[in-house]
């Protein structure tokens, strides 16, 4: 009896090993690693908001941003607004994988700016579980516009600043979204009643329709909006009685097209001032009035250091 039992026992390991698939044995052997999420967005911007993406280490990125004339401003006479473009150009470089530094120029108010973008947290699963990616963005703008209205405009008064905290999550291969608490500060504002510092909560999402194409939506409501004198609302009003109107929140809908080293972003937006402080907090265009603009962001990357 015992002999027979021993014989059966001998067979047991043989049987199990023969059944055991070599692949599943390999699977069990895999060390637990941290899988970082990548490509939450195709580009470093959604439309006007930053995304949590940074160009890779050693990458130089050049972007060209255009916002064309309004749909409700003699659309066809102005060749669908194309005769009337606002332009922004930027150049940035990533010395490390978590830091990106850059400078830009915007035609609107002859604005020069410098910016830094820094990765704080990365979405991951595996041995480190992190539900979101968090990236910071800070920039400073200097408006060199010549204004002759008797108001003293020194260096400080020409400065404004924007800080964004980008909290993004890639929910699936195709769907990503982010919430972006944003702080906009202008040293000089239109009226004494205006807020120098404004808070906005940017919201953005994208859905990939093919591996190379994605639909994007972006909305940036300002919590404490300022007002602007609307001279067109009542052309006959005396200077002291010009009606004031709230600036509009920026709403944009677009498509991302990726072609290797380029990302083309084509969209419709009501924000015409391409640089962040103007796009978010000094935006006179409204979707309801048809004050919309075609626009594009095009990026090109160059690998400088491998």
């Amino acid at each position: 009896m015992l002999k027979r039992l021993a014989f059966i026992l001998c067979l047991v390991p043989l049987c199990t090993y023969a059944q055991d698939d070599l692949l599943s044995e390999l699977e069990e052997d895999q060390p637990e690693t941290t899988q970082y999420t990548f490509a939450t967005w195709k580009g470093t911007k959604v439309v006007n908001l930053q995304t949590n993406e940074l160009p890779g280490k050693g990458t130089l990125q050049y972007t060209i941003l255009h916002r064309f004339g309004a749909f409700n401003d003699d659309f066809f006479y102005n060749f669908m607004g194309l005769d009337n473009a606002q332009v922004r150009l930027t150049l940035d470089y990533s010395p490390t994988p978590w830091l990106n530094l850059g400078a830009g120029h915007t035609g609107f108010r002859k604005t020069y700016d410098v910016f830094a973008k820094y990765r704080l947290l990365r979405q991951s699963k595996g041995s480190v579980n992190m539900p979101v990616s968090v990236t910071g963005f800070s920039s400073a703008y200097y408006s060199a516009l010549r204004i002759d209205d008797g108001i003293e405009r020194g260096f400080g008064r020409r400065m404004s600043y924007v800080h964004e905290l980008i909290i993004a999550r890639k929910f699936s291969q195709n769907f990503s979204a982010q919430i972006v608490p944003t702080l906009i500060h202008s040293n000089l504002v239109e009226r004494t009643a205006d807020n120098n510092t404004q808070i906005a909560i940017g919201l953005a999402a994208r859905y990939k329709i093919t591996p190379m194409h994605a639909i994007t939506v972006e909305w940036v409501p300002v919590l404490n909006p300022n007002q602007y004198p609307n001279f067109e609302a009542d052309p006959l009003a005396l200077p002291a009685d010009v009606p004031f109107q709230n600036f509009s929140n920026a709403l944009s809908i677009g498509i991302d097209i990726e072609t290797g080293g380029h990302v083309f972003q084509l969209f419709v937006t009501n924000a015409r001032g391409v640089a962040e402080p103007y796009a978010f907090a000094q935006n006179t265009g409204s979707w309801l009035d048809g004050d919309l603009h075609f626009g594009f962001n095009i990026s090109r990357v160059f690998t400088m250091v491998r």
């Binding site: 039992l5 021993a6 026992l9 001998c10 698939d21 044995e25 060390p31 890779g56 291969q173 591996p211």
Partner: protein, 178 residues
């Protein structure tokens, strides 16, 4: 008698385990030769196991571990082509033909053919290629080179990228078993 049988069982299972060789640091390279650019990517985190009993072997290739010279290229490889979030690994399971006929106890090089099933991007294909087995100081290593077509595995190169990425990839596999 009881102890003897237990000992027998123990010896048996031990000897069985010793008949498989493994590694977690195997190497796979692929090379794409297209008119505009050549692309090379390397992976040093390939797991493999080979059963010395019958010559069956398996590979597991973590897709995200492929290293490219350009960061963006690596991102596009994972995101747009391999969809590695959905298909994180490629696998191979096969058998070396006429393995019993090879005498791997002596140092030397042995050419053999193998058949098996390759799974990449969630799609499987039967492949039939040759492999070079080397035995040196009792250690077994494996080397092989073959081409595969991206389109066979449902990885489509868009027409606009055909000049940058070849549909045919040359694969080089080098495994040193422990």
């Amino acid at each position: 008698m009881k102890y003897l049988s237990l000992l027998l069982v123990l010896c048996f299972s031990l000897s069985l385990q010793a008949q498989k060789v493994k590694t977690r640091s195997g190497y796979v390279k692929f090379f794409s030769d297209a008119p505009v650019e050549d692309i090379t990517a390397e992976n040093n985190q390939v797991s493999s196991i080979l059963d010395l009993e019958n010559g069956s072997f398996a590979f597991l290739v973590p897709i995200k571990a492929f290293q490219f010279e350009k960061a963006l290229m690596q991102e596009h490889f994972n995101e747009n082509y391999m969809e590695s979030g959905q298909y994180p690994k490629a696998t191979f399971k096969g058998k070396i033909a006429n393995f019993e006929g090879l005498d791997l106890s002596k140092d030397g090089q042995y050419k053999a053919s193998f058949v098996g099933s390759m799974t990449i991007h969630g799609q499987s294909q039967e492949i039939n290629e040759t492999v070079l087995l080397t035995v040196k100081d009792g250690k077994l290593s494996l080397e092989c080179e073959f081409t595969l077509k991206c389109s066979d595995y449902g990885v489509e190169i868009p027409a606009a990228k055909k000049d940058n990425i070849s549909d045919q990839l040359l694969l080089t596999v080098k495994i040193d078993y422990a």
